[in-house]
């Protein structure tokens, strides 16, 4: 156990935290945009999975990782289009739309995957490598943790301020937040609510899909059924725990990733407890943390409520 406090291990714990959190961060920021626009999209898992599959497909077919990134983004946006059509146009209950999408995505990706490999050996690809940022990566501790990561990791960290700026400092962000708080306020100014919801959900889902794609391209070399393994749910949890604020969501995702990284290292250094307990640790600790927190809810007032002129 005392091993845990050696420098190499501390660096490893922190670096692992960053690796675990960054794909989640893309997806969480995407879902933040979606939900701030009033659409309670429960289909994060399915969107991430589809993004991951699209990335795998394109990476193995073309060998180009950046094309694969694009594929994940496009796949995510298409999933967003489905969600937007169901929620903004058909006004299906948001939960049904999202959960249905999860089922659909689980089935579709597996089906396509099997049709793609057709019994032959599964093609694999060689994913993103770490990019050392000159000078910065040489700083002790911080260097290897923060400045020796995948290229997309840096992008993910930049996405937080960008989303913050988009939401709070841009013209479009004000309208987007208005969708979540009171879409009628836009409607009475003669602006189309559903067009803006389509845009927001597609943009958000594109980022969510990118999260899945990054998970694939950054940390794997192949697709497997149920590849995202429940991360979509963690994203939704982080959004609620982060109180629908970019910074809050960042903190929630970081805290979760840190706990997960800690649990990983505890198992590896040989803590004498059942490994299931260590695996459960991030979830237990998250509940414990949330029990102690209280704040004015930042949930958008009209989140999850299909909009229609009365």
């Amino acid at each position: 156990m005392s091993q845990l406090f050696q420098e190499a291990i501390i660096i490893s714990i922190l670096a692992s935290t960053i690796r675990i959190m960054t794909p989640l961060l893309f997806s969480a920021m995407g879902e933040l945009i979606t939900q701030r626009a009033g659409i309670w999209n429960m289909g994060v898992e399915g969107t991430m999975l589809t993004g991951a599959f699209a990335a795998y497909l394109v990476a193995t077919l073309t060998g180009s990782l950046w094309l694969a990134v694009l594929a994940a983004i496009v796949a995510g946006a298409l999933m967003g289009l489905v969600i937007a059509f169901m929620t903004a146009t058909l006004r299906v209950d948001h939960f049904i739309a999202g959960l249905g999408l999860n089922l659909l995505a689980g089935g579709l990706t597996l089906y396509w995957f099997q049709s793609y490999i057709q019994g032959r050996a599964q093609p694999i690809f060689s994913g993103f490598q770490d990019v050392d940022i000159p000078l910065l990566s040489d700083i002790p501790v911080i260097g290897p943790v923060l400045f020796s990561q995948r290229a997309l990791t840096y992008v993910a960290l930049l996405v937080v301020p960008v989303v913050w700026f988009l939401l709070y400092r841009s013209r479009y962000g004000l309208e987007l937040r208005c969708l979540g708080e009171n879409p009628k306020a836009l409607d009475v100014k003669g602006l189309s609510v559903s067009a803006r919801q389509y845009l927001a959900v597609m943009l958000g889902s594109a980022m969510t899909g990118l999260g899945g794609g990054f998970l694939m391209l950054g940390f794997s070399d192949r697709f497997l059924a149920d590849f995202t393994a429940g991360r979509g749910w963690i994203v939704i949890v982080a959004l609620i725990a982060g109180n629908w604020r970019p910074r809050g969501v960042l903190i929630a995702v970081t805290a979760f990733a840190f706990l997960e990284s800690l649990a990983t290292h505890l198992q590896v250094v040989g803590a004498q407890v059942p490994h299931q307990l260590l695996l459960a640790l991030p979830y237990l600790a998250s509940i414990g943390l949330l029990m102690g927190l209280r704040f004015r809810s930042g949930q958008p007032a009209r989140l999850g409520i299909p909009y229609a002129r009365e």
């Binding site: 291990i9 940390f219 497997l224 059924a225 590849f227 290292h265 040989g270 490994h275 695996l279």
Partner: protein, 324 residues
């Protein structure tokens, strides 16, 4: 309704049709290696048989039982090879279809006997050899192993790997992790990286993610199938499962029943084929041979020869592997 006795009385059969119930999917090592063995059997034509098969998507529990029933009722299949823990489902079917030979595979099954045969796979002997090599090659004296879920036929490998390492180098320390998920390469990667961070410089990778080893530029070992192609620069060697003796055993049993009229006598206890019988093998990566000093290779060859000759028996230890 099917498998009527008249069929058996006819001339020697020339066709064997097998229904395969998969548990993880063709792309997994566990299922993929079986299909490869069947391909080889098809070419070898034991008893002059024309061997054909059809496999399912991954199925579990009741769904697998339903599929088996459909296969059995169709009357087109002579052998139903259920490639994992399916004896609960076979139990409900085997008396109704006494002519069909049912196969269940691996841990968690019940030895029912009769027309259920229980194929078991142990790859601990190759794992021991890999461990022995690792013990010799390690500089940090620390080795890692990352698995999905612990199980009887997983633990035996991990324990044998470390037993081999210990035999080669008593100073070796071990670190073990289970990720409790079948499908999570990213998570597997984090565990591997964590092991590397604690000083492990050779990894026995049972979860198939070699990326961390590539990044850390260390060597690792593949499991269950030749995994060199996944990472030519890091997979030094793989412990490989070979189902060929199992397939020919089952084909022989079926032949004995079908052509010679013997009754099925399925095993009630695990039966596995040792390395010397072709049940498993070590497949080294020739491109990385330079990493293995000649002296070590000589030792390994000698050890392997003793195992193959039966003069050295690798102990089967299925206890929970823990870091030490």
């Amino acid at each position: 309704m099917t498998g009527s006795p008249e069929r058996a009385a006819a001339a020697d059969p020339d066709k064997l049709n097998i229904a395969v119930i998969l548990s993880a999917g063709i792309e997994s090592a566990w299922d993929g290696t079986l299909i490869e063995a069947l391909e080889r059997a098809k070419v070898a034509k034991p008893h002059g048989l024309d061997i054909t098969w059809k496999y399912t998507d991954p199925l579990w529990g009741d769904d697998a039982g339903d599929a088996m029933r459909l296969f059995a009722e169709s009357g087109e299949y002579d052998v139903i090879w259920a490639h994992s823990t399916y004896s609960d489902q076979v139990k409900k079917l085997r008396e109704e279809f006494p002519d069909i030979l049912f196969v269940v595979v691996g841990s968690g099954n019940e030895g029912l006997g009769g027309n259920q045969y229980w194929v078991y796979k142990r790859v601990h002997e190759p794992a021991y050899l890999l461990g022995y090599a690792a013990g010799k090659l390690t500089k940090s004296n620390r080795l890692g192993a990352v698995g999905t879920f612990p199980a009887d036929d997983v633990n035996d490998e991990i324990n044998a790997f470390f037993a081999g390492a210990k035999a080669a180098n008593p100073a070796v320390e071990r670190t073990v992790a289970f990720i409790e998920s079948w499908y999570d390469p990213a998570k597997a990667g984090e565990y591997t990286k964590a092991q590397i961070a604690t000083g492990a410089d050779l990894i026995f990778q049972l979860t198939g993610n070699f990326k961390p080893c590539e990044e850390a530029k260390i060597l690792c070992f593949g499991n269950f199938q030749d995994q060199k192609s996944f990472s030519p620069s890091t997979v030094l060697s793989s412990a490989v499962a070979q189902w060929d003796p199992d397939v020919s055993w089952i084909v022989d049993e079926w032949w004995a029943h079908k052509a010679e009229g013997k009754s099925y006598q399925g095993n009630t206890d695990k039966r596995w084929f040792a390395m010397k019988d072709g049940g498993s093998a070590v497949v080294p990566n020739a491109d990385l041979q330079a990493n293995v000093p000649a002296a070590v290779q000589t030792d390994l060859d000698a050890l392997k020869a003793r195992i193959m000759a039966g003069s050295f028996e690798v102990p089967v230890d299925v206890s929970d592997p823990k870091a030490k």
